[in-house]
Amino acid sequence: MKKGKALLEVKGLRVAVAGNEILKGVDLTIRDGEVHAIMGPNGSGKSTLAQVLAGHPAYTVLAGTAQYEGKDLLDMKPEERARAGVFLAFQYPVEVRGITNSYFLRSALNALRRERGEPELDPIDFLQVLEAKLKSIGWDDSMMNRPVNEGFSGGEKKRNEILQLAVLEPRLAILDETDSGLDIDALRTVAEAVNQLRNPKRAFLIVTHYQRLLNYITPDVVHVLADGRIVRSGGPELAQELEAKGYDWLRDGVMVS
């Protein structure tokens, strides 16, 4: 199988937060159309990697590079990354009081459209775009008139992230534990929505703790992040192995090597 072009190329990435080095040299290449899963123990730095790729200002890059579409990703502002097609589905989505979900999402879409030189959508046009996407995650528009994430259940917040992903159609979608807190049906719906969005021009980086999700979304590559480093990469079978054995055998491996 011919490999796609490298969409994201991370090399030797070291990142600190609040003075502590969390990522201690991460290398990762994601090509067009690929789905990568990242697994690893709590606190190993998975969210840190996701956040730093999206440009969260609290994270300091100590060393290393990240090229996205051949550009220096780390040099771009968060909104520039977003407009260039980097999307992060947050582990803990934020609430925005007084702003409807629908207004927020339309503003976001219009920010991307402006970047691409496309005309902005008015509320009516937007509704048409929205309709099909809502269906894909099994929602009606009642969730759209509520303030962004305010009073949403944990699962609803996650579904809302996937709705945004579906509407904003990024090139690189980073999902940080989107499966956590979803019931079985919601998990299947979300996974199906993601599968629908898979295409040769879009890549995924999926952070998860559970093999369960990967039963629905078959990854091309599975990585294990432990103590700030990718300690093992493999195919989908690696996830199954982890499910059976846990992480300890890998950690020991790190110590030996």
Binding site: E79, I99, T100, Q164
Partner: protein, 477 residues
């Protein structure tokens, strides 16, 4: 300074000075100065007597220092109490307004020329101590609505003024109200007759221009039985290192079934980053719901002034009357605001609603101070209060002092309060979706203030949100 703070602390855009020859009365306050002001306005004897009575009372009063604000002593003898552009315009002909004044108001977004006027809005433009133009007066007169500078009302409708002035805010109500009663110059007078729904939004724009002066405007609005009026005031002042005093009094009277909606967009010069200069905005505003089923609604968006001290309140005298207070107060740099409301329930089944949003940034200090008083006779009174504070950065402060005094056991009181911080996480979430840092802050602040902005007349909601650097489009409603 974070991007959030930088965005909230935008430079003041209205700080220019109009170069115009003015007649400024020498600094100082005395009975002679009061006689001079009264004389310039061509007032009847009773008005002068009232002023002098207020002045003599004021001399015995102490400047209040209970608000949660700090400032150096004010020298009342160093202020000039009257300043007016020369070549006073004739009030019956707007064409004769000095072009410099026309240009000034145009620059402030308040066109007073016939052909450029805002449709649906009648404007009274006050420059220092005088009104320079009032639009649509003749149009309003067809409905029996009087909308004119208060000095004109004192001359042309003395009975009405005499009947109501000082009935809601007595001349000795407080230190600044007494000072205002002694030296007040222009402000607006509104009278809406029985059963008339005022066909236009009424609006007054106050501009301070001369230095070393104070502005002491007085506004009186009377809504007769079954009438309705919506009134909005705006203001601004040049950037100067000195502090200028603005001590206004506003009185509203709503008779049976009348509704008065009073909105303020306060944008006085707030001073610079170091807290140099800016207006001291010490204001007394009160409405009396005198009639049954009457309603008074205050909406304020306070973004300016070095110091704000104001508590627009309602005396709910008529049975079933309703008082409302919706407020957004923003303090950035070193601004201080101590603002809130007083709801005094006298009548039966009276209801009041208080929604206060305080936003503090930089080293701003924002205090909500509110009093809800339910008197003995106010059977079935209800109050709902909601006070929300938002902090931007960690050098600012938010304070809440809700006072409650309930003397009737049937009263139902509800109070909610919250304090939140705009965090980097919240901003980041929005930026991750492609919004600029500025748009992100705007959206968050806009959402926070939504319940207040939706009370503003449409024509001004945009202006208010723009003042907070906010794009309104679609999000409020």
């Amino acid at each position: 300074m974070t991007s959030i703070e930088a965005h909230v602390q935008q430079p003041y855009k209205y700080g220019f000075v109009t170069d115009i020859e003015s007649e400024v009365v020498p600094a100082g306050l005395s009975e002679d100065v009061i006689r001079l002001i009264s004389g310039k306005k061509g007032e009847p004897e009773w008005m002068l007597d009232w002023r002098l009575k207020a002045y003599r009372n004021w001399l015995k009063m102490q400047e209040p220092h209970w608000p949660n604000v700090k400032y150096g002593p004010i020298d009342y003898q160093a202020i000039s109490y009257y300043a007016a552009p020369k070549q006073q315009p004739k009030l019956d002909s707007l064409d004769q307004v000095d072009p410099k004044l026309v240009a000034t108001f145009e620059k402030l977004g308040i066109p007073i020329e016939e052909q450029k006027r805002l449709t649906g809005v009648a404007v009274d433009a006050v420059f220092d101590s005088v009104s320079v133009a009032t639009t649509f007066q003749a149009e309003l007169a067809k409905y029996g609505v009087i909308f004119c500078p208060i000095s004109q009302a004192i001359r042309e409708h003395p009975d009405l003024v005499q009947q109501y002035i000082g009935t809601v805010v007595p001349y000795n109500d407080n230190f600044f109200a007494a000072l205002n009663s002694a030296v007040f110059t222009d402000g607006s007078f509104v009278y809406v007759p029985n059963g008339v729904r005022c066909p236009l939004e009424l609006s007054t724009y106050f501009r301070i221009n001369a230095s070393s002066t104070g502005q002491f405007e007085r506004t009186l609005i009377i809504a007769e039985e079954g009438s309705y009026v919506s009134y909005l005031e705006g203001c601004s002042a040049p950037m100067r290192d000195e502090n200028q005093l603005h001590a206004a009094v506003v009185e509203l009277v709503a008779l049976d079934r009348a509704t008065i909606k009073y909105s303020t967009i306060q944008n006085w010069y707030p001073g610079d980053e170091e807290g140099r200069g800016g207006i001291y905005n010490f204001v007394t505003k009160r409405g009396k719901c005198a009639g049954t089923n009457s309603k008074i609604s205050w909406t304020q968006v306070e973004t300016g002034s070095a110091i704000t001290w104001k508590y627009p309140g309602c005396i709910l005298q008529g049975d079933n009357s309703i008082g409302e207070f919706y407020s957004v107060a923003v303090t950035s740099h070193r601004q201080q605001a101590d603002t809130g409301t007083k709801m005094i329930h006298l009548g039966r089944n009276t209801r009041s609603t208080i929604v206060s949003k305080g936003i503090s940034a930089g080293r701003g200090q924002n205090t909500y101070r509110g009093l809800v008083k339910i008197m003995k006779g106010a059977e079935g009174a209800r109050n709902y209060s909601q006070c929300d504070s938002m902090l931007i950065g960690d050098k600012c402060g938010a304070h809440t002092f809700p006072y409650i005094d309930v003397r009737n056991s049937t009263a139902i009181m509800e109070h909610e309060a919250s304090t939140s911080k705009i965090g980097e996480d919240q901003i980041f979430y929005l930026r991750q979706r492609g919004l600029s840092a500025e748009d992100a802050v705007s959206m968050i602040v806009n959402g926070f203030c939504k319940e207040v902005f939706k009370e503003l007349p449409m024509e001004f909601a945009v202006e208010a949100t723009r003042l907070l650097g906010i794009s309104l489009e679609g999000s409020v409603g």
